[in-house]
Structure formats: structure tokens, C-alpha cells
């Protein structure tokens, strides 16, 4: 059984651009959460989606948005990128504990 998958694995963007990150949860998991992890810190919660509905939102600006599709996969969108958005973006699907994907490393130049 495949775990959580994320694409792309790495991404380089410039300030002001837009980015879309993708996540496929473990088969049978209906909840997807997104986290941002900057170097040396623990992951910070951005969003949780369950059955295509937003269930939780962290303390991130409106430039961050997400959605979940009928097959439970999810996209995270970030507009007007800033240097400070450079981080590892993690997706997790849950059944009891949360199962994280390998992450997308975003670098904003």
C-alpha cells in the first residue's frame, strides 16, 4: 500500500510568483492536513480538510489556500510568494496518528 505522496519534491520560485503543491493521502484516509516546516523548527499547521470541507486553519495569511478533491487528494496554493515562504511543506493523512508524506521543498529566491 502506498503511503502519502506529494509532488513535486523540490521547487524553486521567485518572489511574487504563485505555487501549487499536491498531495495524495493513503487509500481510505479522508482527512488531509498541510504543515509548513522551516529549518530547525517543528511543523506548523496550515489547514485540515475532511470530506472536501475545511476543518481547521492555522495562523497563515490569506495568500495560503487549499482544497480537497472527491478522491481526497489535495492541493495547497500559495500566492505572491515571499522569501519567508521557503520551507518544507508537508501533507499528512490521518487515521489515529498522522502519516506524513516526504514533503515538497520550496525555495523562494
Amino acid at each position: 500500500d502506498a503511503g502519502v505522496t506529494q509532488s513535486p519534491t523540490h521547487l524553486i520560485k521567485t518572489r511574487g510568483q504563485h505555487v501549487t503543491l499536491r498531495c495524495s493521502p493513503i487509500s481510505g484516509h479522508k482527512s488531509v492536513s498541510w504543515y509548513q516546516q522551516v529549518l530547525g523548527q517543528g511543523p506548523q499547521f496550515i489547514f485540515q480538510y475532511y470530506e472536501k470541507e475545511e476543518r481547521g486553519r492555522g495562523n497563515f495569511p490569506d495568500r495560503f489556500s487549499a482544497r480537497q478533491f472527491p478522491n481526497y487528494s489535495s492541493e495547497l496554493n500559495v500566492n505572491a510568494l515571499l522569501l519567508g515562504d521557503s520551507a518544507l511543506y508537508l501533507c499528512a493523512s490521518s487515521l489515529g496518528g498522522q502519516f506524513f508524506g516526504p514533503g515538497t521543498r520550496l525555495t523562494v529566491l
Binding site: 517543528g42 490521518s94 496518528g97 498522522q98
Partner: protein
């Protein structure tokens, strides 16, 4: 303010010894607490979940305790091995179990010397 703290200094121990990592929190009332392992450049890997009404949980060489009075969890790895070297993160649920929102500590780097 709400805080979750782990020892930011790396923990260096000899192979075969027991590693003990600490997680303290303030101004939360979590329904559960979780521990994760994270290797460099990779996503966290779920290890154990302990609920507020459980004092201790074990899984193979791992043991977690949860003291809601002290607002503290201890994570033990017995008979440690060099392969246990990684960053260990504690996380608690932010909404009393209403959502999957987790608040993570900054992690403690464990280095097991052969």
C-alpha cells in the same frame, strides 16, 4: 501564552543506554499527545499516541508517559542503537480532539554513539 517545549540541545548517548526525551507544554488541555521521528529532509514518522487518560504506553523499545498534572510527556528509547539517531518531535492536539490540528515542539536531536 500557549507553548510546547522540547530540549533544544542535542542529546548524545552511548549505544545500549536508555534515551529520555522531555516534552513540556503550557496553557493547553490536549486530548492526546503524539511522538514522531524525523530524519533530515524527510517527513515525520508517527511513533506513538497517548491519550489524556493513559499514563504510559509502550511499543517495542519505546515508552511514553503522559502526566497531565505536570503537563509533561517523557519519551524513552531503551537499548538505544545508532539507527535511532534522528530528531524526535512531540505534538499535541490543539483543539481538545475536535480537529486533527497538531501543535509541534521544535524537536530534540538524538545522537547515539556506537
Amino acid at each position: 501564552s500557549q507553548k510546547i517545549e522540547q530540549n533544544s540541545e542535542a542529546l548524545n548517548i552511548q549505544e545500549g543506554k536508555t534515551a529520555t526525551l522531555t516534552c513540556n507544554y503550557t496553557n493547553y488541555s490536549p486530548a492526546y499527545l503524539q511522538w514522531y521521528r524525523q530524519d533530515p529532509g524527510r517527513g515525520p514518522v508517527f511513533l506513538l499516541l497517548i491519550r489524556e487518560n493513559e499514563k504510559e504506553k509502550r511499543k517495542e523499545r519505546l515508552k511514553v508517559t503522559f502526566d497531565t498534572t505536570l503537563k509533561q510527556s517523557l519519551f524513552h528509547i531503551t537499548a538505544s542503537q545508532p539507527a535511532d539517531s534522528a530528531t524526535y518531535l512531540c505534538a499535541l492536539d490543539a483543539d481538545g480532539g475536535a480537529t486533527n490540528k497538531l501543535i509541534f515542539g521544535t524537536g530534540t536531536l538524538l545522537a547515539v554513539q556506537p
